[in-house]
Point group: C2
Chain length 699, copies 2
Amino acid sequence: MRPIFYPESIAVIGVSLSPDNLGLGIIYNLTEFGFRGVIHEVGPKGGVISGRRIYKSVLDIPDVVDLAVILTPARTVADILEECGQKGILWAVIESAGFREYGEEGKKLEERVVRVAEKWGMRFVGPNCIGVINKENGLCTPFTPLNPNVRLGDISIISQSGGVGMSVLNLMGNEGLGLNKFVSAGNMLNIQTEEFLEYFIEDPPTRYIYIHLEGIRNGRKLMEVARKSSKPILASKANIGKFGKSIASSHTASLSSDDRVVDAAFRQCGIIRVNDATTLGNDLKVLHLPPMRGRNLAIISRSGGHAVIAADACEYVGFNLAQFPKAFIEEIEKHFRASVIKLTNPLDLGDLFDLDFFLRIIERTLAEEGVDGIVFLHTIIPMIEGPKSRELLARIRELSKEYQKPVAVYVSTEDQEVAWLKRNLNYPIFTQVVETVRALDLNYRYYAGIEQTREPRKIESPHKNRETARSFLKKAQNEKRNLFLHEAAEVLKAYGLPMIQGLPVADEGEAVKAARQLGFPVAMKIISKEISHKSDIGGVQLNLRTEAGVADAYRDMLKRIRQAYPEAKIEGVLIQSMATGGRELIIGGRQDDQFGPVILVGLGGIFVEVFGEVSLRVAPITPREAVEMINELRGIAMFKGARGTKPSDLEAVAEVLLKLSQLLCDLPEIREIDINPLRVFLEKEGCLGLDVRLILDKS
Amino acid sequence: MRPIFYPESIAVIGVSLSPDNLGLGIIYNLTEFGFRGVIHEVGPKGGVISGRRIYKSVLDIPDVVDLAVILTPARTVADILEECGQKGILWAVIESAGFREYGEEGKKLEERVVRVAEKWGMRFVGPNCIGVINKENGLCTPFTPLNPNVRLGDISIISQSGGVGMSVLNLMGNEGLGLNKFVSAGNMLNIQTEEFLEYFIEDPPTRYIYIHLEGIRNGRKLMEVARKSSKPILASKANIGKFGKSIASSHTASLSSDDRVVDAAFRQCGIIRVNDATTLGNDLKVLHLPPMRGRNLAIISRSGGHAVIAADACEYVGFNLAQFPKAFIEEIEKHFRASVIKLTNPLDLGDLFDLDFFLRIIERTLAEEGVDGIVFLHTIIPMIEGPKSRELLARIRELSKEYQKPVAVYVSTEDQEVAWLKRNLNYPIFTQVVETVRALDLNYRYYAGIEQTREPRKIESPHKNRETARSFLKKAQNEKRNLFLHEAAEVLKAYGLPMIQGLPVADEGEAVKAARQLGFPVAMKIISKEISHKSDIGGVQLNLRTEAGVADAYRDMLKRIRQAYPEAKIEGVLIQSMATGGRELIIGGRQDDQFGPVILVGLGGIFVEVFGEVSLRVAPITPREAVEMINELRGIAMFKGARGTKPSDLEAVAEVLLKLSQLLCDLPEIREIDINPLRVFLEKEGCLGLDVRLILDKS
């Protein structure tokens, strides 16, 4: 993909001398950003621009061209691409809009473009985008004239939307964050997000990656690529609801996805999700600081009021306020002009105006073993201490590096001074107290969690009993129905999932015999593919305690159902053991369109319905993730011995999640599965699925 | 309080010619801000400054002085104040620190200051503050040299912390928000937040008020004052946890308060709570726009990507996307240069670059009856459309005023242009898409909710049965114990609260008689002030169905308890009716140190313990607030017929809350009360308290 970012010569196609020609904007930007390669202008009307000929076709260019940048009406793009192919150009940026995002006609144009590219083995960015910026060589293909005020740095950006990408560039300029490369991916007809991501992960000058997504084509691929990254990846994902969906499809032709799955997936592959511009800016800043390796923070402040706000924020995110040793406090105490401040953490510097001494305090604090990071809340009066303060901050930058601990600097001062610091200091400057602390917490969590995303995902591939399970699925598929409860239970058992004992029977005599075999009491459930909500129509009987009871219940049930559903084909009934005691969870899974198999766990019964408590992961999961899923449930305290009850066997639940994860990965023909309820017994006593619903993929 | 903000002459006490004298900073600021009154410098060493004599004492000033600004060591302040009194100065700003916030010694100094002020009838701001700024007359008493770059405007600020106040001024300068007056209240030894608030509510040029609090002295007074305001009041409250508490007490000597009570109180009196600087800035901006009167929003965007983000945000806050009529869409359609955009809401202006036409679209949209407000997502390319865009925004400002509908403008462009717009346009400019939508939602909710804070609070004063209730409280107080269950039940009944029937009895015969009278089955509960957790030691027996059963249970219970607690004085037992059916809530109340009586409701049993679901209000509450409290509970769906069950009598619960509210207001000697459980029956069938715990104030 190097020619897209480092072309030695490019052809800008769609240039004319008309004053409202958008191609001229591209030429302007290439010049302003100081592009180091050769530029060829192409446009059907020809002409001369800045002493260079505008060629009527790429075929007329008497030179090798590495990259074509196309900004012509949608209907002309395929033909132009054909000419590029003939010219031997293998890489293109198609900025033109009017394709799939505009409906059927556009989709046809798009298909032609794809065919031409395939024919010549060309790869292209877009269409419907503003293309590429590379601060390393001055490449800049957007068609709106830009000010090259973002400095060269180590952050590279992939944005599906050009407009959002531009506002991120504005943010970076404003915050003094440095750009390396930028690509607006548009409709991603040919080159996908994941490919750009892979390129940036390998690209030496890129050290941080930000992605703005409106749709995710191949979630599993995205996760796989992200897991390989040793560089922090931040991503925002818009188009999360029904409002966004409609506008997104006409914007970058993106499909929406289940946002909870996106959340889980990002977390599982170490992508930091950001939801707004302020957070993005602060996260990028804080990741440029050394890792915070523990939870012990020191707050050093020139304002007591800011210290209080920071202390509140620490408590909220769960940082500890590191204890300062007595010798340290005494040392500082000697230097105060007046005795107005209590020396503790937060350390309120009060009316101490000696900036050199601040530096000594900060260095002394960094040297403390019990301190993992510092928030320095700095109030500057530029008129009397501007230059001194700039020096202080430059020294803090060095100290943070030297001690390899983060010093997050919040600054309260006039905005001219803030702007100067952001542009010139080459060190993150925060301007909101709460955000400074929140960002440091992100720094900690990122570095603490990133290793976990690479933990091996335990999975036999395939499971030794896959074919046993599949035989039940095939039978149902052949009969064009979903699985009956007893069949679904067999599938689960094949994967080692604990299911209550059950025997399908076809008549009264068999029912009694089965009950005797299982031991009383038993439950009885109707088996019929036409009847899905069994209990609503009397298709479930619980607590049958005698043989006579089973016989009666059988006759009653069949009579009742035949009356209610005269057309229904009844296969028989299922006789099940009864489980007593325990608490209920729901365990389930499904195939997600973008991310493949996902599994979830929720509190059972009323909890899931009223509180909607579920936690979710993309399969396969690791043993650690299984435990994490369970612990995430807000009501899980009930299972851990809250109110003096005995704790439940959550280890067995984690085991179930791992097995279900394997099952869903092995058997993609299962569209949806719910074990509801999973009865969880006391510690070491295991758990047992009592009912299961299994929906097959119709395709 | 006018002389504090509009003195015609001031004395700055604590000025010397030493270069590090802080008083000089005050003189500098008064000069820079163009103070229009007379300035007198005072300092024991005397001297001459800028041609004016430094008086050795205020008594030497040959002129009337309206306001003294004192910045001298804490130990000197009382004597200086005495001289001010002699001089006839009735108002002072004491900036000196070193009082209560520094411990016992400081507290004594403070007491002397208070006595002197009382003696002369003086009122003062501080101590431990940076005083007052008034942009109307150039008064500026902080001692750090400031740049007067915040423009004159209509926002006035009360900040307990000087440092936080300064950072808000920086924010306002940066965001182009105009300041009217500023006061840093410090330790609030004499003039309290509520008095400043009252002054600003009456102050004509002030139209918006922001308060930063670290402690709340008199929460009820604050609420009372705030309710009278026709101006929006925004407030942040720091010092919410154990970390903040310690630093806050040494900063502005503030006590912490229950943050959930603060939340409820602010809401009940229409104060908008803000938790960070970004939100504060955006809230202040959005309240400068006309009220959004409904939930129908139009999004007009120059970038599809921003439109998607805004649409997501609308869904999140619960705005509707207004439907555009067909004629309107067709009219716009004619004007597009190329056919690349689908016309819907969000309206993506795509490659339309005609700013005049934008204006017509916006005006046309404002004219639509079904549109209550607009979010305009504006991307500016300053180089080619800067001046045009400034004109457009100025016209939008007029249109918003003309149609009295908010047009919230988000701008994505280079920061120089953003800064110019914020400083010169005199119209709010937002720079984060999500925040723009969130802020508009705040605008809507503020104007929709503010009337409700003035609803009459139904309360008989006092309740006709107050003395009946009080007789039980007095009896217990005299006996130095809390109330027994049956007494507490009588107190509740006196206020019309439904409690289950119960009869206290002293022997076995009475127990049987009482059971017969109440009807079987009954419950039996031990009565003894030494035994608080009755059920733990077998002091509760439920479901007694026969006379013999009651007699047996009585004997057993007494025997058991006498064995377990040989020392306990047993008053007898309580025979109670049994209630069947219904669902459980917990209802309670207590006296809050800052806000007086508060009441709360929570889901019963495991829900409150595991999910911690309670909602809370300061009493007295309105009928609307009672309903709101109940509806706030996340699990309340269970009581409203979720899962096909029958709905419970929540009207009766609201009634209970109102009665409890009256009770707590009438009887402040009740420190804490819990009705647990309150059994709630089906609709129209009422509810019933089964048990109650009532703790009296020890003082």
